[in-house]
């Protein structure tokens, strides 16, 4: 009943055989405190930003109850995706099976919330008690007017990356190519792995509009189901979050002949490079010229605005403690502000992410292997950075080290993508690095406090 693992090549080999290379694809060990997530989480990360569909979690309360509406993926329209919907399995369901309840739940949810589609997520418990997700979805489908789509990525399948891949498979099998667009734009593209955290996507769109490129669909930030169905008519795929959906772009290339490039929209350098790469991929002279003109204009404007921030930040030293594409893209972004990266590392990065990061960083820079709280604290003590850049999970621990901290993960409320995002980013970095708070935290009680 699960997705065929060997077909997806989920157990990716680590090609890094150099002596001392970090163990990037290592499984988390029991009790070691690696702060990683599971396949179910990986699936919801990709699919739950689809705004006008119902996301139904088939499991006991933990999987939906602790986590619904907790990511900052924003929508310009429908809010249905933020709703927490679950079969909330009880003890009796675990004993007697939850399939019937699931079928009924899908029918009730479709009637009440009128979604464009229903995505149904397996969890550890529903998979373990042998509920057949595909069969339940087929049964419900007979009574529901919109597509009912199974997402079979229970948590124990592995890490978050595996869940990402399964959802790519789900989109490819069940969604993409199921409808035709009204018109086909000559420069239509898809973003793959852009989740519109805090509105990131909206920081990039003005540039696309300026150069005359149409975003056919964004997988899956601020996505509407009907747009995703037409994604196969785009001419080019841009893989934004490095590796999480590589399987999807490869399959789209094979079936629909859509080539893909990788890109990132964090920082001036990467934003420009990605826009340039898009234009070059189309090979249209006018588009290339328009894009270059836009880049020159925006780079100059952006650099002028961030100059005063850069002046203050020049020479500061940062530690990066984050995931995926952000590891290497953030290195360049911080460099643009004059900040040197002392150490970086992540649990979700692939070997390629790592090699790229390594090439960009100081040769002496440290790659973090121990991503537990303990490993983090040791590193901060050793490096004494001026800035920590990491995700929400580390935020409050970082505060205890009295070090300026910037949250760049899904919990943040500010968009950092595109040229405008770079300005927002520069301001946010400066706000934390120059906050008077850290120094006050480092100071002991004013002299005289020990007087009798």
């Amino acid at each position: 009943m699960f997705v065929n693992l060997s077909k997806l090549n989920l157990r990716e080999e680590c090609p890094l055989t150099d002596k001392g290379a970090p163990k990037l694809c290592m499984k988390a060990l029991p009790g070691e405190g690696a702060e990683r997530s599971c396949a179910f989480d990986g699936a919801r990360v990709v699919l739950m930003p689809i705004t006008d569909v119902a996301h139904v979690v088939h499991g006991p309360i933990a999987c939906a109850g602790n986590s619904w509406d907790n990511r900052g993926a924003r929508s310009s329209g429908a809010q249905l995706y933020r709703r927490g919907l679950t079969t909330d399995l009880m003890e009796m369901d675990v004993v007697y099976g939850g399939e019937k309840k699931l079928v009924q739940a899908i029918i009730e949810i479709a009637a009440k919330h009128r979604p464009k589609a229903v995505f149904v997520y397996a969890t550890c418990v529903s998979a373990l008690i042998g509920d057949d997700l595909e069969s339940a979805c087929r049964q419900a489908q007979a009574q529901v007017p919109v597509p009912v789509i199974p997402v079979n990525a229970p948590g124990f399948l592995g890490d978050k990356n595996i869940g990402n891949r399964v959802s790519g498979e789900v989109l490819f099998q069940h969604v993409i190519g199921t409808a035709e667009p009204e018109e086909i734009h000559p420069f239509a593209i898809n973003f793959i792995g852009e989740y519109n955290i805090a509105g990131d996507l909206w920081g990039v769109q003005p540039s696309l509009e300026a150069i005359g490129v149409k975003l056919q669909s964004c997988i899956s930030g601020d996505a509407r189901f009907d747009d995703l169905r037409t994604a196969h008519r785009a001419k080019l795929n841009i893989l934004v979050c490095s590796k999480s959906l590589t399987n999807l772009v490869k399959q789209m290339e094979k079936k629909y002949g859509i080539p893909y490039i990788e890109g990132s929209f964090y920082g001036i350098h990467d934003t420009s490079n990605t826009l340039r790469a898009i234009a070059e991929a189309f090979g249209d002279a006018d588009l290339i010229a328009r894009t270059e003109a836009h880049i020159q204009k925006k780079e100059a404007e952006t650099r002028a605005v961030i100059a005063p921030y850069r002046q203050g930040l020049e020479g500061k030293r940062a530690v990066l403690f984050t995931g995926g594409v952000k590891t290497w893209s953030m290195v360049t972004t911080l460099k643009e502000l004059g900040i040197e990266v002392l150490a970086g590392g992540t649990q979700n990065s692939t070997p390629e992410d790592f090699l790229r990061m390594k090439a960009l960083m100081d040769p002496e820079a440290h790659i973090i292997e121990d991503t537990s709280a303990a490993g983090f604290l040791t590193l901060i003590k050793e490096k004494a950075p001026d800035l920590i850049v990491a995700g929400g999970k580390t935020k409050y621990l970082a505060h205890k080290t009295r070090t300026p901290f910037l949250d760049i993960n899904h919990g943040r409320s500010l968009p950092y993508a595109g040229y405008d995002g770079m300005i927002t980013f520069a301001k946010a970095v400066a706000r934390t690095v120059f906050s008077p708070v850290w120094e006050k935290m480092r100071q002991p009680f004013p002299a005289g406090g020990d007087a009798q």
Partner: protein, 427 residues
């Protein structure tokens, strides 16, 4: 007023429940030097860490046994042994607090036998206190997980008798008390010259102080030595109906007289507790508490008209729900709807409170026409479209500052709760 249950639904929409393991984590966070270990897949612990971190704005030391596909077939018994050993070796905690998950309960891992086998294999770990709490995801919510874990802490760590101490009382605060509430409770008890031993005590671990050396284990909270003194207490109090089982267990094990305090919010509720403290300590009511009571009465007089007959809709875990709804009803408000995350003991429900088990989609349906919604941050999806003021309470609260610092218990806290309700409605 009689409450009728909702028409049965096959799904839960916008759940107000959190997982029992999340409640268990919260209980473990009140014990000094403890490392919590969730026996489940990695997402189980990641979601809990995120949920608690965004509520308390604090790091949450919680490790996982990181179960994968093979364990779904062969069981997670070996992983639990490895997890305890690794956590002990790497982080040197004073106590390890284990909780189960839906996954491990479904395949029926025997945590007791895993631990006793490990103890034989690793004699060096045999003195390490390990607490095992069973918290399947499909039974209850955070309140039940917290309750089971508090019970496991008492049964495991306070099982040996301790010398009698006439000045010491045991306090078992419910999951509905904030760190600042627990501190207020300790202060109230201390005013009577009594020494409180609080299990769990989140007032010194989740109170958001900037400690000197951040560590991957719980810092602050009750110590192991203090827990071991609990059997010698002169009396024990549990706070919130769900916590009564913990006090009863202590009474059964060591004969410590136990009193179940259902609520500490509301005039009558606080009076009962204060009078009991007078009896135990042999001291009169401290001047400071009398003053606070007098201020509360004055506030009631000043604002009785603004609170009287106001229709209030609440959706909360049941201990907190009964406490706040009971207080509002006592002061003349009308409880339009009271949605509990899980069913409370019917004998603990104050008269006139129409308690029904429901989620936040039920809140959307039943809150229409009320003057105030009291629920966690997730209820904004109900409150915003209905244009009803929304006072944040419960967990998670992530879009308002200061929830862990909020005091809504005692005379002073009851006054604050009323003021917060009035200010929310004034907007």
């Amino acid at each position: 007023m009689t409450a009728t249950a909702f028409a049965p639904r096959s799904y839960t929409g916008n759940p107000q429940k959190n997982s029992p393991a999340l409640g268990a984590t919260l209980a473990y966070m009140g014990v000094d030097g403890l490392l919590a270990l969730l026996h489940g897949s990695q997402g189980c612990s990641t979601f809990i860490r995120l949920q608690l971190s965004r509520h308390f704005k604090e790091p949450v030391p919680l490790n996982s046994t990181a179960l994968l596909e093979d364990t779904a077939i062969f069981g997670g018994w070996e992983h639990l042994k490895k997890g305890i050993a690794k956590a002990a070796d790497k982080f040197k905690p004073r106590i390890i607090g284990v909780m189960s998950s839906g996954l491990t309960e479904t395949f029926g891992d025997d945590m007791e036998s895993a631990w006793s086998t490990l103890r034989q294999e690793r004699p060096d770990l045999s003195d390490l206190p390990v607490v095992l709490a069973k918290t399947p995801d499909y039974v209850g919510s955070l309140q039940e997980g917290y309750q089971r874990t508090a019970l496991a802490l008492v049964e495991t760590l306070a099982k040996d008798p301790a010398p009698q101490d006439a000045k010491t009382v045991a306090l078992f605060p419910g999951v509905h008390l904030t760190p600042a509430d627990v501190e207020e409770l300790k202060d109230m008890v201390s005013l009577f010259g009594l020494t409180p031993l609080v299990l769990p005590d989140i007032s010194t671990s989740l109170d958001g102080h900037s400690e000197l050396d951040p560590a991957p284990v719980v810092q602050g909270g009750i110590t192991l030595e203090e827990i071991r003194r609990i059997p010698g207490c002169v009396a024990a109090f549990s706070f919130g109906p769900s916590m009564a089982v913990v006090g009863e267990a202590l009474q059964r094990m060591h004969g410590v007289p136990h009193m179940a305090v259902h609520s500490l919010t509301g005039l009558e509720a606080v009076d009962i507790f204060v009078l009991k403290l007078c009896q135990i300590s042999g001291r009169p009511i401290p001047e400071r508490l009398l003053r606070q009571r007098s201020r509360l009465l004055d506030t009631l007089a000043d604002y009785h008209d603004q609170i009287g007959r106001k229709k209030i809709a609440l959706a909360l875990e049941s201990d907190l729900l009964l406490s706040l709804a009971g207080c509002l009803a006592e002061f003349g408000a009308v409880i339009q709807t009271a949605l509990a995350a899980t069913a409370p003991d019917p004998s603990a429900v104050p008269p006139g409170i129409p308690v029904i088990v429901g989620d936040l989609e039920h809140l959307e349906e039943t809150a229409v026409g009320s003057h105030l919604i009291i629920a966690n941050s997730n209820a904004r999806q109900a409150a915003l479209p209905l244009k009803i003021p929304h006072l944040r309470a419960g967990l998670p609260v992530f879009d308002r500052a200061g929830m862990p610092q909020t005091v809504w218990i005692g005379y002073r806290g009851t006054q604050r709760f009323l003021i917060d309700c009035l200010n929310a409605m004034a907007v």
